[in-house]
Amino acid sequence: MMSPLSTSHGFWLRPRDPLSPRERLRQAVGDLTRARRLQVLVDYGFVGLLIGLGIAAVAVWVARMMHVQPWPLAGAVVGIALVLALAAGWWRRPGMLEVAISADLKLKLKQRLSTAWEFMTASGDGELTERLAVQAVNAGLPDDPGAVFPLRVNRWGWLAPLAATALLLASVVELDRTSVPAPRAPDARVVSEGERLGAFGRAMQERAARERLPRSARQGGELERLGARMEGGALSRGQALGELRRMEVTLDEERRQALAEAGGASSGSRGADKDSRADNQGSPGGTPAGSGLNPEAMLDRMNRGGLDSADLRALTRYQQDLAGSGAADQRLEKALQSRRAEADDALREILQNLALVERARKEGRELGRAREQVLRARENLDDAQATARGRGPRAEIDWDDDERYDRDAGDPESARADARRGDGKGLADPRSASRGDGRVANERAQSPYRPEPGPRGPVLQPEGELREGESHSSHARLPARAGRPSVESVEMASEFAPQVEEVLSREHYPAHYKEFIRRYFLNLSRGARGAPGEAGGTQ
């Protein structure tokens, strides 16, 4: 007979478990079942993790190729796989008898536990059941079910780090480097658009340097670099479209910030917010440039000695323009009166703010034109998204405004004269140069980036027989041949040679393209020195 007291591993003598053999058996099988089910869930969890990571690696790879954010996708895939695996684990959870059989095999109990459990659940109370329960208890039921069915990393779990590594590689490996090293045949349209964008970027940088527009200078440089990469054949059409989309977003953002700065400066500089609103509406008549003012030049003159009578007349005219448009600036009026009384501090402040506003507006216009160029490049590269959008935003782009900007920046007086010549409204009407102005429309042909209007394309009228007794005819007009850009050709090739090394070390290009690019520009320089008339200089 067993003693009523049994020694435990501790110091104290403890009373023997008061549970009957049957209850002990029930409790042991219950504990074992919980441990085993948890183990099964963890096993299935590892399977789900492995599958999820594997699929996520592929998904991340594909997402990166499609320029979609990969990490949310990867997270969703892993999460779904885990949930499905855990659901499957719960669905396939073992029954209590199965657990008892497994425990028997693991503990080498010679089927005492499972036999007792089966008889207990099937036969209920009975002498044999009681004897079997006693036999199972005496055989040694486990104290710690977790030791029988421990939570372990199964073989799927050991493979999970491999899948995680694959996922990591899929997210960091540069897709450009994974392409076949053989040089790719450059896409003629990408090259051509690259040339155009590069030329625009350089011109933009020149204008920005002249006007001291830092945002435009920076973005012009970016455009020039993008154009060079496209022109050099480093980008496929898809990659070029991706870069152009990113460029468009950046330009949009920069333009918005510039306009916001213009709005902020104008509201800070003037008590009359009406003028600020007029600026934000893009109405040139309410701006200093639209009135023929050059605030920075005036400030220079004021700092050197003082404003002359022409400046005062221009300011007076500007103030009258504002009053005429219903946006009278009381501060300016007072400042002008004070100026007559030789107190010019207020006027200096107004001129400083006007200069800031003017510069920000110029930035906005310059960046808007750059964005238009990028959008046009996307359209020309058959970007369906850009083409669809082009029907909307493109219609808002006012080439006339750009024309005016160029001319105003160069010669304010001539711009004013033009405005007076146009329809008699001149500066009195701030919206005199708005869209639909016949005079300005005539000047469109002068745009340096706009193709010359050519004849309309030929008409096609194909006719034929589709099948017996059924004829078909259609009528279509082919697009007109692209016009020749009217911008002057400027020799630039010789300037590239000294810059090529610097650019190659600063920018990232695929390794196998670096030598190609270097040779290309060196050849350009050599060609330009050898035969100036035939130089491959870009415009």
Binding site: M2, E98, K110, Q111, E118, V134
Partner: protein
Amino acid sequence: MNDDTEVALGRERLEALRRQIERRIVGHRDLVNGILACLLSSGHVLLEGVPGLGKTLLVKTLSDALHLEFARIQFTPDLMPADIIGTQVVMQDDAGRRHFQFQQGPVFTQLLLADEINRATPKTQSALLEAMEEKHVTVGRTAHVLQEPFMVLATQNPIEMEGTYPLPEAQLDRFLLKLNATYPDAGELAQIVDRTTGAPMPAVEPVVSAGEVLKLRELTRSVAVAGHVRDYAIRMVLATHPGSAEATPRVRRYVRHGASPRGVQAIVLVAKALALFAGRISVSFDDLAAAAPPALRHRILLNFEGEAEGVSVEDLIAEVVRETPTVRDI
């Protein structure tokens, strides 16, 4: 430790019996275990082995250790059924009237040694069929019940095939187990030499009575077999059938007939006895696996290809035991 008093007592009696047998028999532990299991399972044993391995001595020793009646029949080709069962003889009473009276044959005993059973003709061999299966003998219109416990221990020699009559399948199936006597190893041989060439053989005392044997049989039948354990025995027997889904490729190729339902009965009964030997009141997978070879080896019939290629039935059974899953869907 097992608290089951009845089982403990049974084990104690069996150990005493085993000790008595070991006083005279060297080695042959599997053989002794098989015979005892058969005794507790109410079955009969076919012992096969070359001459001189101690088969007959083992049976005689067992009979000495048990308080049971013992008889021996030496099977020869001229042995007749009546020599086994008995015959009607004419008797004259005191009044001078004559009448037939049944004279019991040697089968009317409790332990029957059928020595070299394959030397008798099939007709004589089959005289034992009814006795083995039904535990009674019918002579004329009268059925004579045999005493319990009744057990037949038959021996046969596998090498001397000249003038022998292999047991028919129906006869073989009546034997619960077929046990193979193997050669002793060097240590056992040394003990055999010492025991048999010196002092007279030690005497064996009877330690288990017929009533105790019957009680042990009852106890054996009360050993529990869980459903999933029983299913393992069924799967093993099904795996010996060439047309079954459980059959192994070699069984499909070389076996003509697999084990009959008596095969499952034999496996489970012997497994129960083995569990009792171990002091358990429930059968384990290991018990079934241990019971399978002696219970199946005479119940599997090879086809021509198997015979021609010399395929061993023992190997096939080992393969079946090895490849049959103990638990399904876990």
